[in-house]
């Protein structure tokens, strides 16, 4: 009796339609995570904007050189790492594991360069402009709080992405993981890039000091 039931369950079709999203569960799970994480970053960006609009004397501490030049190079690093990640997925889809691993390593190189540049930018703000999360010379403590919270959360995502990519990369070189696993890690990396596309103009460029 029980074997009849299990056989019927195994052969029955779900009547709601075949695979409504035509995608695997890992990819769909990553998309759901990305959407929820987008709301976290949206809330932080709105908190930053709220603080800025409600404080007319909001500081503009980012000198064109070095802050804006540094952050522009950081943007270039992230955008280029997104392109190399696309190439990794492309290589994996064509069964070229070594090439895929090399492209993932290049992606990690771009991400590592971003983190190093970002940390040096933070140190410049802390040591030269005397900005901390709790106080700054301009008397608007919310600036440091919102700035370090927003960029710090993003940098945490980049570091987690580097660890994630390192795990995927070694698995690809050892012949483990499928193309879909590389694609899912790529989705995460592109999301990190996408968030920076809003942080860079709203936080850095809107507070640039040219003269």
């Amino acid at each position: 009796m029980s074997s009849q039931v299990s056989t019927a369950a195994a052969t029955s079709l779900w009547e709601g339609g075949r695979s409504p999203y035509a995608t695997n569960s890992k990819k769909f799970g990553m998309w759901l995570f990305i959407i929820s994480d987008s709301l976290t970053f949206s809330a932080l960006l709105f908190a930053y904007t709220y603080s800025r609009v409600s404080n007319p004397n909001w500081p503009t501490p980012f000198h064109f050189s070095p802050s804006i030049i540094f952050s522009t190079v950081m943007t270039f690093c992230l955008l280029s790492s997104s392109l190399t990640m696309v190439m990794a997925v492309h290589s994996m889809n064509h069964g070229k594991r070594k090439a895929a691993g090399a492209w993932i390593l290049a992606t990690m190189g771009g991400g590592a360069a971003f983190v190093v540049l970002h940390l040096s930018e933070w140190l410049n703000l802390i040591n030269n402009e005397h900005v901390t999360p709790f106080e700054n010379p301009w008397g608007v403590p919310l600036f440091g709080g919102t700035f370090f919270a927003l960029t710090g959360l993003h940098m945490t995502h980049v570091v987690i992405g580097l660890i994630y990519l390192a795990i995927v990369c070694q698995a690809v070189f050892r012949g483990k993981f499928k193309a879909e696993d590389v694609e899912v890690s790529g989705l995460y990396w592109h999301f990190v890039d996408l968030v920076w596309m809003f942080i860079f103009p709203l936080v850095y460029l809107m507070s640039a000091r040219v003269h």
């Binding site: 035509a22 709301l39 709105f46 955008l79 190439m87 592109h190 996408l194 709203l202 460029l205 640039a208």
Partner: protein, 107 residues
């Protein structure tokens, strides 16, 4: 027997050349953003331009790099209208931010 193996179709007709073009477009838009900051254009014009360019850049990344353009429409319709709706709801707080400076007692 195509000689140009890098031009092999990737997903849904996109080639590596397509992705390279998207990357160049993203870099070009970043260049325009930096130029706007350097020229110090008026605040509202700059905010509008930067937000517009950011949304276009985000759309390009989602559509091509994240392959959403090549997924089923049902996936897009499940994920994005809700996200956009929630983000628009957050705008409700900005009215308060505009009023706060006028409500502060004079020092």
């Amino acid at each position: 027997m195509s000689v140009h193996t890098e031009e092999v179709e990737h997903i849904g007709g996109a080639t590596t050349m397509t992705f390279a073009k998207v990357w160049i477009a993203l870099l070009a838009m970043t260049g325009v953003e930096v130029l706007l900051a350097y020229e110090q254009v008026p605040m509202m014009i700059m905010l509008t331009a930067l937000l517009g360019l950011s949304i276009i850049k985000a759309a390009l990344i989602i559509a091509y790099f994240m392959h959403l353009k090549f997924e089923k429409l049902s996936l897009f319709l499940t994920l994005f209208p809700m996200l956009v709706f929630c983000i628009i709801l957050m705008l409700i707080f900005l009215g308060d931010a505009v009023r706060i400076p006028a409500m502060r007692p004079p020092v």
